[in-house]
């Protein structure tokens, strides 16, 4: 079967690396990294939860959040997770064109989300909530800003992966690279699932 031949070729390109667990080094590393990121975002989220109601100056959360807007943003990011999975399955089927298509869509959705964040930030600043205005302000921008930077880095990963696939310069297992970018991307999505509920939907 052509599939098996390609599959075997993929493994051959691994230099026949065997591992004690039978699992990929890179995938183990990525999951470990994501496990540690739980503690990073947990700290930022906890800081926000502690300080969300401390508004010495400037607007209070209830006065400033635009739930309908953020809901749309959240939906966009959630859908980008779907398109990311479709990119991964395409890569596993060795369908380069489909892979790049879904990677593109994911990147566009991700960039849209970041654009939405930028719009939200600039609106808030105009409405009087700056980074230094209050504890609420500092905590909010730090938490969502960190998340936004993670999404942006993810978009760069997606675009870079596409570029490297196009130039046929992937040094390892192509499907695995897309899978690992996918794991990172989904993690960024699940952090937002938590942020959306705790920060936006639960009133301070």
């Amino acid at each position: 079967m052509a599939d098996t031949a390609l599959h075997a070729a993929d493994h051959a390109s691994d230099h026949g690396h065997h591992s004690s667990t039978g699992l990929s080094n890179n995938k183990l590393a990525m999951w470990l990294f994501l496990g540690s990121e739980c503690l990073l975002f947990g700290g930022l989220i906890s800081t926000y939860m502690l300080y969300r109601g401390r508004v010495s100056d400037g607007p209070h959360p209830s006065q400033i959040y635009d739930i309908p807007f953020t809901s749309v943003s959240s939906f966009v990011l959630l859908m980008s997770s779907l398109t990311m999975v479709l990119a991964v399955t395409s890569a596993q089927r060795h369908d380069d064109r489909r892979t790049n298509l879904w990677l593109t869509v994911t990147a566009v959705l991700g960039a849209t989300f970041v654009g939405g964040q930028v719009y939200e930030f600039t609106t808030f600043i105009r409405e009087g909530l700056g980074f230094t205005t209050s504890l609420f302000g500092s905590s909010f921008y730090t938490l969502t800003g960190f998340h936004g930077v993670h999404v942006s880095v993810g978009v760069i990963f997606l675009l870079s992966t596409m570029g490297i696939i196009k130039k046929n310069k992937i040094t390892g297992n192509k499907a695995e690279v897309v899978e690992l970018v996918g794991l990172y991307w989904h993690f960024v999505d699940i952090v937002w699932i938590i942020i959306f509920t705790l920060v936006y939907l639960i009133p301070a």
């Binding site: 496990g35 990121e37 309908p68 596993q92 989904h186």
Partner: protein, 99 residues
């Protein structure tokens, strides 16, 4: 000498992933509805449950954790569990959970 034995043949079809995505979208809609509809005392518990369900679904299906080696689950969920433990404890000392 065993090679990396990842199998992607079990797991889900594209249609399956789309189904998961639709479920997630529906839950999200329900979450957003808490902004418009008064859930009364169910407000907090339902939001928390929905958040956790979405989280676990993305991790289990989109991130394929349900179908992969348990070692990955151990590495990730240990980090998550430690995060929950230390931050809950720290917030508790701030009397955060006392009304």
């Amino acid at each position: 000498m065993s090679e990396t034995t990842e199998h992607h043949d079990h797991g889900m079809s594209d249609a399956g992933y789309i189904k998961i995505a639709l479920i997630l979208a529906a839950i999200t809609a329900l979450e957003v509805s808490t902004y418009y509809v008064d859930f009364g005392p169910l407000f907090m518990p339902s939001l928390m449950i929905m958040m956790v369900v979405k989280f676990v679904m993305v991790v289990s299906y989109f991130m394929h954790l349900k179908f992969d080696s348990k070692i990955f689950s151990f590495l990730f969920y240990t980090g998550l569990a430690l995060a929950l433990f230390v931050y809950f404890a720290a917030l508790a000392t701030f009397k955060f959970f006392i009304a």
